[in-house]
């Protein structure tokens, strides 16, 4: 009997609290290097974690493992040729990268984008947001152990990529958004296919919610885990779903609308506690809102040109090259040298799936940009990791990293 009570005493002395265990003054801190090659870091991210037992006391991200010098390469190319280069920064939201850059150049040039092009841009931007959230959902669920989500989400992703392929010819990095509009009008049959996708997407999103919502393990891994308050997030420069999960309804689509977002009626999902569960729910709710926006854009798609009619900036249509000398000269100038942008600087912010994408372009009057800088949201969001995971378990570190949704291409550029 005494053995049992000893055992019971020992059992009761084990607590799950994350406070410092009273092991005396010399409890050891272990420095663990996670990455850069690790299945759970989303990309090549290296985390130098300082652990005390299972509890994370400090985490320092080391980045730069996929630094490609994109901004330097962009200074070497004409504005038209910068678009494919800059699309490859944040490789899950390529339309957003191109949109930010094209928006900045259009502001510097002072040209108007025709309304049809604006609506087409909105359709593709929101499709890209859906696709990015699908990849996030699939890989995060995979990290948390819910493996079947991966395949469901990638099934949706394939449908969306089919739509991208139909409108622009490529699945990823499509160069669809150009300075002045979009590269091509949507083909016949695109609207029908898009409508079919929009009809089934909300039910699919419901399916994902059903799969994950009542899952005990997922809920206990996400609910109440690693919350961070709004003030700290603002000081860290965090935007996007992370900030919205903490309660701040800041969304550039509503606050500083660009590309006719003010024509559409949609809501911004906002969380309350700012923990992992809220971040998860905010992104999931954004799926429905994106579907609403695309539906409204598709229904109200205006007629008109798909790119600006200013021939000094956009290529003339092919049939004019046979008849008009001016069109030929414009085409020649645009393809060989490119258009020149008057000197100036511009910072163009848009709302991407991870937060504020801002493109800073400095033009010096020549045909090549003098400086292109992308303010990437994952770069700022990653700084919040330390504040979020301090004093929580290492398994929560993995879950939080999944909920932050860092994309290393954008962080390292």
């Amino acid at each position: 009997m005494s053995a049992t009570s000893d055992y019971r005493k020992q059992e009761e002395s084990i607590t799950m609290s994350t406070e410092s265990a009273g092991m005396g003054e010399t409890h050891e801190l272990l420095t663990l290097n996670i990455g850069p090659h690790h299945p759970a870091t989303h990309g090549v991210l290296r985390l130098i974690t300082t652990l005390e037992g299972e509890v994370v006391r400090d985490v320092r991200p080391v980045i730069g493992y996929v630094h490609t010098g994109i901004e330097k390469t962009a200074e070497d190319k004409s504005y038209w040729k910068v678009i494919p280069v800059i699309e490859r920064m944040d490789y899950l939201s390529y339309y957003f990268n191109a949109m930010a850059f094209c928006g900045a150049v259009e502001t510097l040039l002072g040209i108007e984008v025709p309304p049809r092009a604006q609506y087409l841009r909105v359709i593709h931007l929101e499709l890209n947001r859906l696709m990015s959230h699908m990849v996030w959902l699939g890989t995060s669920a995979l990290d948390l152990g819910a493996m079947s989500m991966f395949w469901y989400c990638f099934r949706e992703r394939e449908t969306i990529l089919d739509l991208f392929e139909m409108s622009s010819g490529a699945r990823m990095h499509t160069r669809y958004i150009q300075v002045g509009g979009v590269i091509e009008d949507i083909p016949v049959g695109y609207a029908a296919r898009l409508q079919k996708f929009l009809d089934e997407m909300p039910t699919r999103a419901d399916q994902y919610a059903d799969l994950l919502e009542k899952n005990e393990i997922l809920l206990s891994r996400l609910r109440g885990v690693c919350p961070l308050d709004e003030q700290t997030l603002l000081g860290l420069g965090v935007t996007g779903p992370l900030l919205r999960a903490a309660g701040n309804p800041w969304d550039l689509r509503k606050a500083q609308p660009y590309s006719s977002y003010d024509h559409f009626d949609f809501k911004i999902p906002v969380g309350t506690h700012g923990d992992n569960y809220d971040r998860f729910r905010v992104r999931h709710a954004e799926l429905y809102e994106s579907v609403k926006i695309i539906q409204q854009a598709l229904d109200g798609l205006p007629e008109g040109p798909h790119i600006t009619t200013d021939r000094k900036v956009a290529l003339p249509p092919r049939h004019e090259l046979a008849t008009s000398m001016e069109a030929l000269i414009h085409h020649f100038k645009l393809v060989t040298e490119g258009f020149r942008v008057p000197p100036g600087e511009c910072y163009y912010p848009i709302e991407g799936p991870r937060g504020e994408y801002g493109c800073f372009v400095r033009a010096d009057g020549s045909a090549k940009p003098a400086r292109v800088h992308m303010r990437d949201p994952s770069f700022s969001n990653l700084q919040a990791t330390n504040a979020m995971v301090k004093d929580s378990y290492i398994a929560d570190l993995i879950a939080t990293l999944a909920m932050i949704d860092p994309v290393l291409g954008g962080i390292d550029r």
């Binding site: 980045i63 730069g64 630094h67 010098g69 901004e71 330097k72 390469t73 200074e75 070497d76 502001t107 510097l108 002072g110 700290t232 603002l234 000081g235 860290l236 420069g237 965090v238 935007t239 701040n248 800041w250 606050a255 500083q256 100036g344 600087e345 511009c346 910072y347 912010p349 504020e356 801002g358 800073f360 400095r362 003098a370 400086r371 800088h373 303010r375 770069f379 700022s380 990653l382 700084q383 390292d412 550029r413």
Partner: protein
């Protein structure tokens, strides 16, 4: 954006509070910019923060080669309540590229300042951990300066693979 007159008013207020801090203002295509003396960036930014522009959206560097002073550090400030943006530019010389750090005011400036140091060589005084962030730690040179070559190497095919660094014997 504050319009041109609003920008001038803000600039005047800052000049009154901190003389010798504002060198000039610029308003182009709807973008308001304050050009400031690099040493007084903390004063100006704190003033703007109290005025409402409390969110540091972006901190990045620009190389203005061949105009002097060559290196510029830009702060893009955002006022969330009034939905307003203002830019602050501080330009320093390559020979003496020191700018006070704002990490204690905005912890989110940590990585961007390190990136600016890595890419341009601007030293932020007061930054607790200023080392290279994107390039390897022992890299020499500041890649995004305009006089740094873009680099690159010839693509390896069968006919020219002998000329590459690692020789397959």
């Amino acid at each position: 954006m504050p319009d041109a007159t609003g920008l001038e008013l803000i600039a005047q207020e800052i000049r009154d509070a901190h003389p010798d801090s504002i060198i000039g203002t610029d308003f182009h295509r709807g973008r308001a910019e304050l050009r400031i003396n690099p040493t007084s960036n903390r004063d100006v930014l704190t003033f703007l923060s109290d005025r409402g522009y409390s969110f540091l959206a972006s901190l990045h560097g620009v190389d203005y080669y061949p105009e002097e002073p060559r290196l510029g550090v830009l702060y893009e400030m955002l006022d969330m309540k009034a939905v307003d943006r203002i830019s602050v530019k501080a330009r320093v010389l390559v020979e003496h590229p020191h700018v006070p750090s704002v990490v204690d005011l905005w912890p989110g400036a940590d990585f961007p300042e390190r990136e600016c140091y890595d890419m341009f060589g601007v030293v932020f005084d007061g930054h607790p951990d200023l080392r290279r962030i994107l390039m390897p730690e022992d890299y020499e040179g500041h890649p995004q300066r305009r006089d740094f070559p873009v680099g690159g190497e010839p693509v390896l095919f069968t006919f020219n693979e002998e000329q590459s660094y690692g020789k397959f014997q």
